[in-house]
């Protein structure tokens, strides 16, 4: 049985934040869950997917977050407890349905999780999604720890049912990817079959209906404010007259800092866990009890601005500080020492930084940037495109996935990346705006997510570029989740369809479509040259499974290569493809047999034929 399905209330177990969140959803009786994978949220969906195989939970990987939210909205309006999860930028994709779903509401509990990523451990920006709650007029909850994240979900579902509104649950990477002890609670029985009751005056958002719904939304928001006032997630700790207002992980940094500084008797902390709408009266009462207040929140001054506005209404003139050049930054994430230092600074507490080590005399240590895996087929595709476009002035829009790493030299095939699907649509723009040849790249999962619409645009407007679809049979970057082009039988799951990318692209009207096997280097280069010569939209589908995934399914047996004596030491292999299995030993190129998988890319580009399968 899946470890998160155990019906053993009281059991204490070490869980990853994302596992705790998945467990919380199960305890809350969730019956329906949808997502598009995105770090730092991916393990929540992975666990729910696994559990759906052993229980009545319905789970799906949708093609993108907008689709996931729309699928979920229907379920939550049919009476099922529904969970929809995504990374922060995913909510941008789902923002369109979100804003109107806030009007329509739900008939059963619906929780939408947004996993924000301060410091951008694996994201293209660090937007603060608390504004989506404010923007949409939706309640938002924010846990401060792994254990609290689990417990908050059930209450989020209850809250959603009470208000008949979706509830946003906001985590940050430091919750999603922390491990801590969690105590299992009881598992609520699921309701797995619902019924949709027609209610056009609520559910069909023509202007006449929506005008009424907006009024109702504002009424609900008033009610939500009362709930936020009374919520146990917004609590005050301590009795001093120096105030701290903190949310999320910052609350724990503040708590530790107050203990470390020995100022427990001087400090009063307001922890904000129900953060939209803000509990106005609670905050005003808190301000009245303080002589100075510091707001500690990663990201934007979301609470700080509201707190200052409340103070103005009450005529409270105490100093209220938060973001500033000397206190807290709007950039990146915070850490305990930094929070301690700022608290000491703000409240004039004596504090000496711990002595850190003098690192001025350390020798240079080479960086360890991430790199495409040994034997990754993307490397072969990038190489082939570069060779095929040799001497041409090209622009390479790239997209979101492992293959974004192709931007690094020597492959240098990534010139512009902004969001999922952007490679295709920006290619449309570049091809019209410049005389340069445009060759863009998108992974298969990302193509389904939002590349298709860009390609439709390109066909209709008769743009001129070559799109390379990197079809490696899985969503590799986020940890091997399926997508509509995946062979689910091979993964051991039945009952799924499969969309063929080649057929799809042809049906869209692309006139020049070719398929390459990127490890057949010469042939691939010739095929790519033909595509580049075509005027109009051409698509190359580069098919080869993600080697990491193929190895995990035991579809590929690594067969290492070696560099033989024929090597004349011009290092064309190293300078051309930087496979991480290469190293230099006493000036000579060597291949690490433990990591080489034998893709034979290097063997094909070596002009001396010096690279051969290792003889055992």
């Amino acid at each position: 049985m899946h470890k998160l399905l155990k019906d053993s209330p009281g059991e204490k177990i070490m869980l990853l934040g994302n596992e705790a969140i998945a467990r919380g959803a199960v305890e809350a009786g969730v019956a329906f869950a949808t997502t598009y994978p995105g770090t730092p949220s991916s393990e929540i969906s992975l666990n729910l997917f696994q559990m759906s195989q052993e229980s009545d939970l319905y789970f799906e990987y949708s093609t993108n977050e907008k689709v996931a939210l729309e699928v979920a909205a229907a379920a939550a309006n049919s009476g099922l407890r529904t969970f929809c999860m995504m990374k922060h930028v995913g909510l941008n994709v789902a923002a369109d349905p979100l804003m109107t779903l806030a009007y329509v509401g739900v008939t059963a509990g619906m929780v939408i999780l947004t996993a924000d990523d301060p410091a951008m451990f694996s994201s293209q920006n660090e937007q603060d999604n608390r504004y989506y709650a404010k923007f949409g007029g939706l309640p938002m909850l924010e846990p401060s720890s792994v254990a609290e994240a689990k417990d908050m979900i059930e209450q989020a579902f209850d809250l959603s049912e009470e208000l008949k509104q979706p509830v946003l649950l906001r985590t940050t990477t430091r919750i999603n990817h922390s491990n801590a002890f969690v105590t299992f609670g009881a598992i609520k029985a699921q309701k797995t079959k619902g019924r949709f009751e027609r209610d056009p005056m609520r559910c069909v958002t023509v202007p006449a209906v929506s005008r009424g719904l907006h009024v109702k939304l504002l009424e609900k928001l008033e009610k939500t404010r009362d709930l936020s006032e009374a919520s146990c997630f917004n609590f005050v700790q301590g009795k001093g007259d120096l105030g701290i207002i903190a949310n999320g992980v910052s609350f724990h940094y503040a708590q530790d800092a107050v203990t470390d500084l020995g100022i427990e008797d001087k400090i009063r902390i307001l922890r904000m866990g129900f953060s939209n709408p803000m509990p106005e009266n609670k905050i005003k009462a808190f301000l009245k009890a303080c002589t100075r207040v510091l707001v500690i929140e990663e990201g934007e001054p979301f609470m700080e601005e509201a707190v200052k506005a409340f103070a103005q209404e009450e005529g409270i003139t105490i100093p209220i500080q938060g973001k500033s050049s000397t206190l807290f930054s709007r950039l990146s994430e915070y850490d305990p020492a930094m929070v301690r230092e700022k608290i000491a600074l703000c409240f004039g507490v004596e504090y000496t930084r711990p002595e850190t080590i003098d690192v001025s005399d350390l020798p240079e240590i080479a960086n360890r940037p991430p790199n495409l895996c040994s034997g990754c087929s993307h490397r072969a595709t990038f190489y082939a495109v570069q060779k095929a476009a040799d001497g041409m002035d090209i622009i390479c829009p790239n997209d979101i996935g492992c293959y974004t790493l192709g931007f690094m030299p020597p492959l240098s095939t990534g010139d512009f990346v902004i969001c999922m699907g952007s490679s295709v649509s920006t290619s449309c723009g570049f091809s019209k705006a410049t005389d340069q040849k445009v060759v863009s790249f998108i992974g298969d999962s990302t193509f389904f997510h939002s590349g298709i619409t860009g390609l439709v645009n390109a066909v209709f407007n008769n743009h001129n570029f070559t799109l390379v679809i990197l079809e490696n049979g899985i969503t590799a970057m986020t940890g091997h989740q399926p997508h509509p082009g995946v062979d689910m039988e091979q993964m051991g799951h039945s009952g799924y369809g499969r969309v063929n990318i080649e057929n799809l692209v042809k049906v869209l009207g692309v006139e020049h479509v070719s398929v390459i096997k990127p490890f057949k280097v010469k042939k691939s280069i010739d095929t790519i040259k033909e595509a580049l010569a075509f005027k109009g939209v051409s698509v190359i589908i580069s098919q080869e499974p993600c080697i990491l995934f193929a190895k995990s399914l035991k579809l590929k047996k690594p067969r290492p290569f070696e560099v033989t004596d024929k090597c004349t030491d011009h290092k064309e292999c190293i300078n051309g493809i930087v496979c991480p299995s290469f190293y230099i030993d006493e000036g000579r190129v060597k291949i690490d047999a433990d990591t080489c998988v034998g893709c034979a890319l290097c063997a094909q580009i070596c002009p001396e034929n010096a690279i051969r399968p290792l003889k055992k």
Partner: protein, 199 residues
């Protein structure tokens, strides 16, 4: 237990996650609170993986610069890179077997001498245990057990106040049956190696 902050640095694929899980399980056995935080994402593609483990009563799960009580490095250059997490009071346990980044492999960047690395670590911190965990893991029968060898060394130093028995029990709970014997042997050999390295 007084708050003890442990940082583990490794290269993706060295089994840092399992090591953290074993220590978490050992904490459960010892009745000590624990919070851990790790960096995922792009790190899976051959980058550095860093875990922070906070034992005891603090409530935060990350460790600031200068605040690690213990640093365990699975790769010597990464141990040195992580020295900013340490203070003069930090105990350091490091593997001496190198895994140079591909940037070095292809001649774009320098890899310091291992002797220089260990000398600097020793000079700047409270104590260093440096062992060739790769060779020891091979001796135990599995090059995959580098992580467990280093756990053995960590426990021997006593810097983390857990008993050997708790950690062995934790290894039993967290190891796949096929690897158990090799891991137990790796743990013992790591423990012994640390003993000898101190002597």
């Amino acid at each position: 237990m007084e708050t003890t902050r442990l940082v583990i640095v490794a290269v993706g694929g060295q089994g840092n996650l399992l090591a953290s899980k074993v220590l978490g399980e050992a904490a459960l056995i010892e009745g000590v609170e624990v919070r851990m935080s790790e960096i995922h994402g792009m790190a899976q593609r051959g980058g550095v993986v860093e875990s922070a483990i906070v034992f005891g009563n603090a409530t935060s799960s990350i460790i600031s610069d200068g605040e690690a009580d213990i640093l365990v490095g699975f790769e010597p250059a990464e141990t040195l890179r992580a020295i900013k997490r340490c203070s003069a009071k930090t105990h350091v346990i490091t593997n001496t077997a190198t895994l140079p980044p591909f940037t070095v492999g292809i001649g774009k960047g320098a890899y310091p001498e291992v002797d220089t690395i260990t000398r600097l670590l020793k000079e700047k911190t409270a104590g260093l245990v440096a062992i060739d965990a790769m060779a020891i893991a091979r001796e135990a029968g599995s090059p995959m057990s580098v992580n467990i060898v280093l756990l053995g060394a960590l426990i021997q130093t006593g810097a983390l106040g857990f008993s050997k028995e708790s950690v062995i029990e934790a290894i039993k709970r967290r190891t796949k049956p096929a690897f158990l014997d090799k891991n137990l042997k790796a743990f013992d050999l790591g423990f012994e190696a640390a003993l000898n390295s101190a002597a």
